[in-house]
């Protein structure tokens, strides 16, 4: 359950010094002190130090339009803008009918100018809190048919904000309208606080809003959930398959089956948007699989499940096993189980895994999971829709790998082929996503948005490379990204990322060979690398050393002439 404001606020006295810091600017046209406190205090809950600049009251335009403002001097990573609907309503009432008709268009135009300024004067990501879609009851329900009504215009404004978000890649939206409709008007707003103090929100709503804003920020920082691990009995269906049998488990029309069916439909949607589904159940495997294979009302099929683990081992061990197969971080996993004991064990022994406290009544499962907003994302690409298939192909390779006695023989039989391309409009979203999602094989962990990637692709100061890999078992897709900054005769490796799915394929050898031959062809002399340690990229700590780079002033340097090609089983294919 979400803490109340006063309890959350007590975090402010705690020590944030061990947490990573990110700089957040908060601009509002109402009093934002409480929101600032809530956001700072919520940071403690997620082990993050939000260093917050709060602009003086009602200075949104002043701070964003002037390139020397305190806002830009603060050099924020994120700028949150909050326009209150009260102020908007006041402005609307002052307008004549013609202005009312154009109200949303004018607002969207204004917002675009504001964003353009922010984008020009700072490197910050822009987070806009949208409006709750109220009806001021001047026209009653008829307002839905009248374009000079506030409710018509406010809905149109929210839609325009979404359109801006689609067009402008560094523009993100905090969906206050959803939160308000979920928690209800009375829990969200407090008209007394507004009248007396120009405070918009009910105090105990602030932790909810802070949590929502923080999940956008953390997602932009690369903390993304990639996988859901599911229990079966009383989680995916009602009853116990081993005791009740196929005919009596509750799913579809039987008993409370509808609640489980709806949960499954939702999980299937998650899978289609790129979340990996895994099963972890205490059962005989053949019995656990029976409903997936034979029950006519099951929504999820075995094809939807990337890793299926059913045995009598502890779930902690089984989740560790799933983690090894998928090669994802524990902090990118969500574990859903109706049994509080299992949940507590996982929470205790695998504290990085997110474990929602599922309500007792299955009827509340889905609604509760919605309220947790577990699957925040900041990008979506074609690649996401294919992820389950990619991971399944990988599972087949893993089995093959075991059947070859000699690893070189295995690699050579894969028949790997790589396509190399510069960044372009078509691959930008996938490239941005790799920079956001990859943590392990990532030398400097710089996160880029799609807009950043397009800028890089047009810049003459950078050489950009993306690598897509295929083999006999299928396509891995675009799995590696290299960004090289040109500095006279030197190339600096700004970014080198490889998806962990292609580790131990001699793929990094192929990439280094490629970089060096490209550098040689273009008369560069030296390649400079840097390793910025995080708690996740220890894997590549010695990468530069292994490729013959020499350490110099905490960076790594390679004389291109001294590089000899490394052995690789990857062949290049021409575009």
């Amino acid at each position: 359950m979400m803490k109340d404001f006063l309890t959350l606020k007590s975090n402010l006295n705690k020590n944030y010094s061990d947490f990573p810091t990110t700089r957040v600017a908060l601009l509002g046209d109402s009093s934002t002190q409480f929101l600032k406190q809530a956001l700072k205090a919520y940071g403690y809950e997620v082990n993050y130090n939000f260093e917050i600049f709060e602009a003086d009251y009602n200075q949104i335009d002043l701070q964003t339009l002037n390139n020397h403002s305190e806002l830009y001097q603060f050099d924020p990573d994120f700028i949150i803008v909050f326009n209150s609907y009260y102020k908007l309503l006041k402005k609307f009432y002052k307008s004549n009918n013609e202005e009312k008709q154009n109200f949303s268009n004018n607002y969207a135009q204004h917002l675009r100018v504001l964003y353009n300024n922010v984008n020009e004067y700072s490197r910050a990501k822009f987070i806009f809190i949208n409006f709750f879609e109220c009806n001021d009851c001047v026209f009653g329900n008829f307002s839905n048919k009248v374009d000079i009504s506030f409710s018509y215009q406010i809905k149109k404004i929210n839609l325009s904000i979404m359109d801006l978000g689609r067009e402008l890649k560094d523009f993100f939206i905090c969906d206050l309208d959803f939160l308000q409709s979920y928690y209800g008007y009375k829990s969200t707003f407090d008209s007394r606080l507004y009248l007396n103090n120009d405070v918009i929100f009910n105090l105990d709503f602030l932790p909810v809003l802070a949590s929502n804003l923080s999940s956008i920020i953390l997602t932009l920082k690369g903390l993304i959930k990639k996988c859901v691990i599911l229990d079966l009995d009383n989680t995916l269906w009602g009853g116990v398959i081993g005791d009740d049998g196929l005919e009596n488990i509750q799913i579809g029309d039987l008993g409370i089956g509808k609640a489980f069916s709806e949960l499954q439909i939702w999980l299937k949607q998650l899978k289609e948007r790129g979340i990996i589904l895994a099963v972890c159940s205490k059962n005989e495997e053949s019995i656990a699989k029976e409903p997936f294979e034979k029950h006519p009302e099951m929504i999820l099929t075995l094809d939807d499940i990337t890793v299926f683990v059913a045995n009598w081992e502890s779930k902690v061990d089984n989740i560790k096993f799933i983690q090894r197969i998928l090669n994802l971080g524990f902090d990118s996993m969500v574990f859903i189980d109706d049994n509080p004991l299992e949940r507590d064990l996982v929470k205790t022994y695998l504290p990085q895994v997110t474990v929602p406290e599922l309500p007792e009544d299955p009827a509340d499962y889905l609604n509760y999971l919605h309220s947790q907003n577990l699957f925040e994302t900041i990008s979506f690409s074609e690649e996401d829709t294919k992820r389950t298939q990619l991971y399944k192909e990988e599972a087949v390779r893993k089995v093959k790998e075991i059947s070859f006695s000699n690893y070189d023989e295995f690699l050579s039989n894969l028949n790997m082929r790589c396509k190399v391309e510069s960044f372009n409009k078509l691959n930008a979203s996938r490239i941005a996503q790799l920079t956001q999602r990859s943590n392990q094989f990532n030398l400097r962990t710089i996160r880029y948005t799609e807009e950043d990637i397009i800028k890089l692709s047009l810049s003459s100061e950078y050489l950009t490379l993306s690598f897509s890999l295929d083999d006999n078992y299928g396509s891995y897709g675009l799995v590696s990204v290299v960004i090289l900054k040109v500095n006279n005769a030197e190339l600096f490796i700004d970014t080198f990322i490889m998806s962990c799915r292609v580790l131990k394929r001699t793929f990094e050898n192929f990439i280094f060979n490629f970089i060096c031959s490209k550098a040689r062809d273009n008369n560069f002399e030296t390649i400079i690398g840097e390793y910025i340690p995080t708690n996740k990229n220890i894997l590549v700590k010695d990468l530069f050393k292994d490729f013959g780079f020499l350490e110099r002033d905490s960076k790594w340097s390679l004389n291109i002439d001294s590089y000899s090609n490394r052995k690789t089983y990857v062949a290049i294919i021409d575009n």
Binding site: D4, F5, L6, K9, S10, N13, Q33, F34, S191, R192, L193, L195, N196, N197, V199, L203, D204
Partner: protein, 82 residues
């Protein structure tokens, strides 16, 4: 609930909100005598008291409180009527 009980509960809430378990509170305690008592802290104070006693202060009431005594009396009057 009598006034003594209400006063005792309110005193604990003051101490929690002002984050000082030893804070001395009497009827005359006010923003002049308690250093952290500003308009924002007052909002938190009033909202916490409302939740504890399951009642609401009106907008104008909450504007006119001058000291702890005013607040405690207002709670007492509401709980007495109910």
């Amino acid at each position: 609930m009598n006034k003594i009980e209400i006063t005792k509960i309110c005193r604990d809430i003051f101490r929690k909100v002002f984050n000082n378990p030893l804070l001395e509170i009497d009827e005359n305690s006010s923003p002049d005598t308690i250093p952290n008592w500003d308009s924002l802290q007052q909002i938190i104070l009033l909202v916490t008291i409302e939740k504890r006693f399951d009642m609401k202060f009106s907008a104008s009431e909450s504007q006119n409180f001058k000291n702890a005594g005013d607040i405690i009396s207002a709670v007492f009057n509401k709980k007495k009527i109910n």
